[in-house]
Amino acid sequence: MTQKKNEVFNEVTSGDYKYGFVTDIETEFSPKGISEEVVRYISAKKEEPEWLLEFRLKALAKWQTMTMPNWAHLDIPPIDFNDLYYYAAPKKKKLASMDEVDPELIDTFNRLGISLNEQKKLSGVAVDAVIDSVSVKTTFSDSLAELGIVFMSFSEAVKKHPELVRRFVGQAVPSGDNFFSTLNDAVFSDGSFCYIPKGVRCPMDLSTYFRINAEGSGQFERTLIVADEGSYVSYLEGCTAPQRDENQLHAAVVEIILMKDAEVKYSTVQNWYPGNKEGRGGIFNFVTKRGLCRGDHSKLSWTQVETGSAITWKYPGCVLGGDNSVGEFYSVAVTNNYQQADTGSKMIHLGKNTKSTIISKGISAGKSQNSYRGLVRIAPRATGSRNFSQCDSLLLSDTCGAHTFPYIDTANSSSVVEHEATTSKISEEQLFYCQQRGISSETAVGLIVNGYAGAVLKKLPLEFAAEAQKLLNVSLEGSVG
């Protein structure tokens, strides 16, 4: 009976990666490996000011003294940091106007379902499209600028709004924070920059779409979002990469700064190439995401649907500095085949009456390992604070693993911290019940998994939720709807 069930799960968990194509485009690389020379090369390519070069060089020096963290429940093969390109950019073809984008790149993003054509605006989402180390196009920049919103690539922001970038970069993720963020500090290429002025509610969702294309390269993007007093923005992030036998490194940093009464929703659907069924290839995803709720009554929500990457190491966190500030983390992490994920959240309560919620849903299939790791720290002066954490694991095979590592550190007696955890399997009874109603086992697993993840999927913006739901099904079963 159990064997039969495993067959069903094997069948339904063997979906194929749909974004594995490569765009054949001429690419310009930095010299291979990491050195002061490479950092200077990147900085020069981007025509950066002196202070930013200094920032990079300082980070490089620090990084060279650091060692890779090994505390995660991950089996990471040795990474030769000198055997990859830290900068790869599609070569600019001669085009009629400066603003024109290479049709090949437009086509690439079209194939990924991302339209760079503002006329074809689908659901009112502005996109910053990043391929390898550069941003190729940011849509709706001009119409957003009328509201005082700055939405452009990080490189462009360094040129046009150096004072803003300089003031906020490194505030949420300080220079030298950890091994991977420090590497990013040194070699980061492009990403998005966004500033929402006082009292402005951003009228459309902003998004960044990250695509790795070049072989032998890594992507080190950096995103910085600043929400000024009383402002609001919903931000989406998506990512894919070609199917390759080699592992590719992705070490991003996302920083979000929130002033008084500001609210930011940051949603990610991470679908980097996960490697093949034997565990070959796939992206190594080492990401540092942190928000700083600086102002009182500010609120930051992280929602993530993680289905891709061979290895995921990621702990989006909130530093709740302002009194009554709120941090939320909603996550669905799916691992299949030989994927490994060690992901969760950090909630650091510094202000009074701060509140945080963590809902984590892990789904493991195949021979994968899926860990939740979370830190809830309540500082002595963060009186009257609350945290609620719920970590659920769903196992779809008897060869996968689910693990939960909660760290709780409370330094005052007026705060309340709650932690709940469950582990479950799809029962044969549930499967049979669905089948008895005429639902194939494949669809049944899809329904049950989506039901399980529903509490998180509900937090995603509508069109993104549909996308995520589809993605869940694809990652787990190929055709389930």
Binding site: K5, C434, Q436, R437, I439, T443, G451
Partner: protein
Amino acid sequence: MLLEIKDLCAGINGKEILKGVNLQINKGEVHAIMGPNGTGKSTLASIIAGRPGYDITRGDILLNGKSLLGMPPEQRAQEGIFLGFQYPVEIPGVSMASFLRAAINETRRYRGQLPLGAVAFARQMKEKEEMVEIKAKMKNRSVNEGFSGGEKKKNEIFQLAMLEPKVAILDETDSGLDIDALRIVAGGVNKCKTEENATVVITHYQRLLEYIVPNYVHILYGGRVVKTGGRELSLELEEKGYDWIKAQVEGEE
């Protein structure tokens, strides 16, 4: 003949439970299967529906002359077998609407029909809720999650109404129901009856049969149908219990 069970022998983990069951069910009929505990009533229902884990050692089950034995459970359902569960399971986070829509549309696809659109589906949900008098606002609730025992049974009947099977097998649908809920459930089953379908009611007690009146009553004992009669057989059982059946069977052996 709609459903025919021929000399069915089956067991689980090497233990034989059904030892040559024969049943013939025609369109428009209601059959009751009664018998003491542990005589294979639920096993029979499970095997017809294709629950994994049983070994069929002999015999056949035919629906409209087509053998069900090689079919996976979903295909049997799509062919028109419905099982009302004794213990319906909970599926957290999956709304009744999305569950039933998947069920109906996969069945329609199997039958070569186009999927039911959202509006038509919503209309059908509403109609059937009214028909079986289940005012539970099922649509947005998760499948059986947090339902009371009675609500779960009513939900089974609601699904029966939605799916319109050829043969409905109700496995102890009356267990755990109070008299009011029993009346509603039985009323729902009666409304689902047509000249084209058949109902098989598995029960311990004749009480349910006051509401769902059977054409035939079969007594399953020791893995076989040992007696078949009309409505009056269930009354006789109510009066005399099962001991005389046991005595009769053992006397024959």
